[in-house]
């Protein structure tokens, strides 16, 4: 296509900076001593150390999954630093390093609660943030005003100290330690993440969010998030993430567990913007993540929305176990890969309860030399009378060197269930490009317009301010896509 587009090399990843901050680490490598060290640094109770050690022993006997449509570089698990944190000022341990404040400012993540409370911004745009920097949570905003409603929103480490009974009850209740290789690894070494509990009948008055930032070189990030929505409660949760540009691959192996009780409603949105590596495929985050929710009670509802533009490799299947009768879940996904990126992502919907419903809308966009796969499982168990699923998997190809693949699996053991699957593959046509150009829209902007249009069904599910961000991110990620 156009020469000027061919000339654009590499994409602008504006979150690729490094924060100069003094950090402390545990030694490189992984063994029981390292795990004891991590646990000790966090002042953890014995039961949690035992949980970690048990997970580590199990992990050692497990093998990394190879079924993904991915060319994953070999990971040397002894060559990773499993815990890294910015040093705290010994005299003022509660104070946040200004360099960290600045970092999150630069990323557009508001850690200044006061500014919002003073009415600088309208109240409806309030977002509570748990900001995680490498292995520790830097701060969690709006904790106090949330706690007035009985909402617990804090870092995972604090939850272990302050609400051990809740953590103990729910930890690994949705993603068992041995669920998969990376979940087991996470269970052994997880550092920090977010914890959230919404009590019975409470509607969370603002968006809650976690922002994950990898900064230190040679490290991995292993966050653990646990969300519990008690009976009749409502919550909208957002998650964002970025990392510096480096030539090395960095591992991100998170576990997210969500418990949705009777008639509760949880909306979980992710805009994944990990560093994707350069145009030649050097560096980038290996994003190997397990996210799962359970609709435990009747009439409960869990909605996943994800916009995946980052990571060198994405291996991620946010899933829902529909246990409660008449519970429902949705999975809305946009996965965009460019250059040498690889994504194998999708969902699992497990129908157990009667009258359960699920809906899957997946929009894959492949550009450059990237490989983009949708992988999904819809399973309807024998007792799930009247269950319904609708799946739609669309793939959009930009250029002729990329790949789009779909691996949908349907296992229906219930004759009264209805399962529908639709799939399309399309390309941005020369005619569309010319039509836009004729109206004065240059190729790069035209591609962004067309792709955002294609992903519209999913993007409009995102909370407002997130949707605007996501659209911009899609445009940026597509830079240099034609040529």
């Amino acid at each position: 296509m156009n020469q000027e587009l061919k000339d654009i090399t590499g994409q602008e990843y504006k979150e690729g900076f490094v924060t100069e901050v003094e950090q402390e680490y545990v030694p490189k490598g992984l063994n029981e001593d390292i795990i004891r060290m991590i646990s000790a640094r966090k002042d953890e109770p014995q039961w949690l150390l035992d949980f970690r050690l048990d997970a580590f022993r199990k992990w050692q006997k497990m093998k990394a999954p190879t079924w993904g449509h991915l060319d994953l570089p070999p990971i040397d698990f002894q060559d990773i630093i499993y815990w890294a944190a910015p040093k705290r000022d010994a005299d003022r341990p509660k104070e946040i390093d200004p360099a960290l404040m600045e970092t999150f400012d630069k990323l557009g993540i508001p850690l200044h609660e006061r500014e919002v409370l003073a009415g600088v911004k309208p109240k409806e745009s309030q977002v509570a943030v748990d900001a995680v920097f490498d292995s520790v949570s830097v701060t969690t905003t709006f904790r106090k005003s949330l706690s007035e409603k009985g909402i617990i929103f804090c870092s995972f480490s604090e939850a272990v100290r302050e609400h051990p009974e809740l953590v103990r009850k729910y930890l690994a209740s949705v993603v068992p330690v041995t669920d998969n290789f990376y979940a087991a690894l996470n269970s052994a070494v997880f550092s920090d993440g977010s914890f959230c509990y919404i009590p019975k009948g409470v509607v969370c008055p603002m968006e809650l969010s976690s922002y994950f930032r990898i900064n230190a070189s040679g490290t991995g990030q292993f966050e653990r998030t646990l969300i519990i929505a008690d009976e009749g409660s409502r919550l909208s949760y957002m998650e964002g993430c970025t990392a510096p540009m480096r030539d090395e691959n960095q591992l991100h192996a998170a576990v997210v567990e969500i418990i949705v009780e009777k008639d509760a409603d949880v909306k979980y949105s992710t805009v994944q913007n990990w560093y994707p590596g350069d145009a030649q495929g050097r560096g980038g985050i290996l994003n190997l993540v397990t996210k799962r929710g359970i609709c435990k009670g009747s009439g409960s509802h869990l909605s996943w929305t994800q916009v995946e533009t980052g990571s060198a490799v994405t291996w991620k299947y946010p899933s829902t176990i529909l246990k409660g009768d008449n519970s429902s879940s949705e999975f809305y996904s946009v996965a965009l890969t460019n250059n040498r990126q690889q994504a194998d992502t999708g969902t699992k919907m497990i129908h157990i309860g009667r009258g359960t419903r699920s809906r899957i809308i997946s929009k894959g966009i492949s550009a450059g030399h990237s490989q983009n796969s949708y992988r999904g499982l819809v399973r309807v168990n024998p007792g799930a009378e009247g269950a319904r699923n609708y799946s739609q998997c669309d793939s959009l190809l930009i250029g002729s060197k990329c790949g789009a693949h779909t691996f949908p699996v349907i296992m229906n053991s219930c004759p009264s269930a209805t399962v529908e699957h639709e799939a399309t593959t399309s390309k941005i046509s020369e005619d569309q490009m010319f039509y836009c150009a004729q109206r004065g829209i240059a190729p790069e902007e035209a591609v962004s317009l067309i792709v955002n249009g294609y992903a519209r069904d999913v993007l409009q599910r995102l909370p407002m301010e997130f949707a605007v961000e996501a659209q911009k991110l899609i445009s940026v990620s597509l830079e240099g896509a034609i040529g």
Partner: protein, 251 residues
């Protein structure tokens, strides 16, 4: 007057996939003029409009096109658009998920940016949209629809004229905008062109039939046959074609 010339095509040879379709077209359009280009199927009418707009599949093998004093053939399609060329497509293209509002906002602001102007404010843009939608008798829901998706033939053509009104070009090319339109839609299209014309602006109406020319009165009528303009005359030429067909018109 020489400087009143908006478009000058000299000995244009052009084609697609190695096949020559235009075999030496000469055409001069002055500012303020409406030209009709008529001709049988396969004469090269749509090729002429595609070449003017810069459609990438078409290759110009020789000849020149000067537009508003600039060499058109060195310009990209979007540059030609910015310079003032608008093509009303014979087959408008669907862009799923992109609303008319979003599409026009992107187009209008891209043009303003190219001209070194600031983006239009949301309020001014919506006012402009409303005004131009009324112009082609589109209901307000129209702005929320996806570009050309599920549009009837008539709606697609009206959408083209709506976009032309939004952009208000120096030179509008209507590529068989009248085909498949009923009389009411034809009147809307013609009304659009008539109210957009002005002393500095010109139009090229490509058509099979003289029906549209009852509503848009051309200053000059050309007959294109086998890649050449074989006859040029006044509006009476269109009537003659209507009575005799293209057969006898050669000289």
């Amino acid at each position: 007057m020489e400087n009143d010339i908006l478009l000058q095509i000299k000995d244009l040879h052009a084609g697609i996939e190695g096949k020559e379709i235009l075999k030496g077209v000469n055409l001069t359009i002055r500012r303020g003029e409406i030209h009709a280009v008529m001709g049988p199927n396969g004469a090269g009418k749509s090729t002429l409009s595609a070449v003017l707009a810069g459609k990438p599949e078409y290759t110009v093998t020789s000849g020149s096109i000067e537009f508003a004093g600039r060499d058109l053939l060195t310009m990209t399609p979007e540059e030609r658009s910015w310079a003032g060329i608008f093509l009303s497509f014979q087959y408008p293209v669907e862009i799923p998920g992109v609303t008319i509002t979003n599409f026009m906002k992107t187009a209008v602001n891209a043009r303003r940016k190219a001209a070194g102007q600031e983006e239009l404010s949301a309020g001014d843009f919506l006012k402009l949209m409303k005004e131009k939608m009324a112009f082609v008798q589109m209901k307000s829901e129209f702005s929320k629809r996806e570009v050309n998706v599920g549009f009837s033939g008539g709606e697609k053509k009206r959408n083209e004229i709506f976009q032309m009104a939004m952009i208000d070009p120096l030179f509008g090319i209507l590529d068989e905008t009248d085909s498949g339109l009923d009389v009411d839609a034809l009147k809307i299209v013609a009304g659009g062109v008539n109210s957009l014309k002005g002393p500095r602006k010109s139009f090229m109406i490509i058509t099979h039939y003289q029906k549209l020319l009852e509503y848009i009165v051309p200053d000059v009528v050309h007959v294109l046959k086998d890649g050449r303009i074989v006859t040029t005359g006044g509006r009476e030429l269109a009537d003659r074609i209507w009575q005799q067909g293209f057969e006898g018109i050669d000289e």
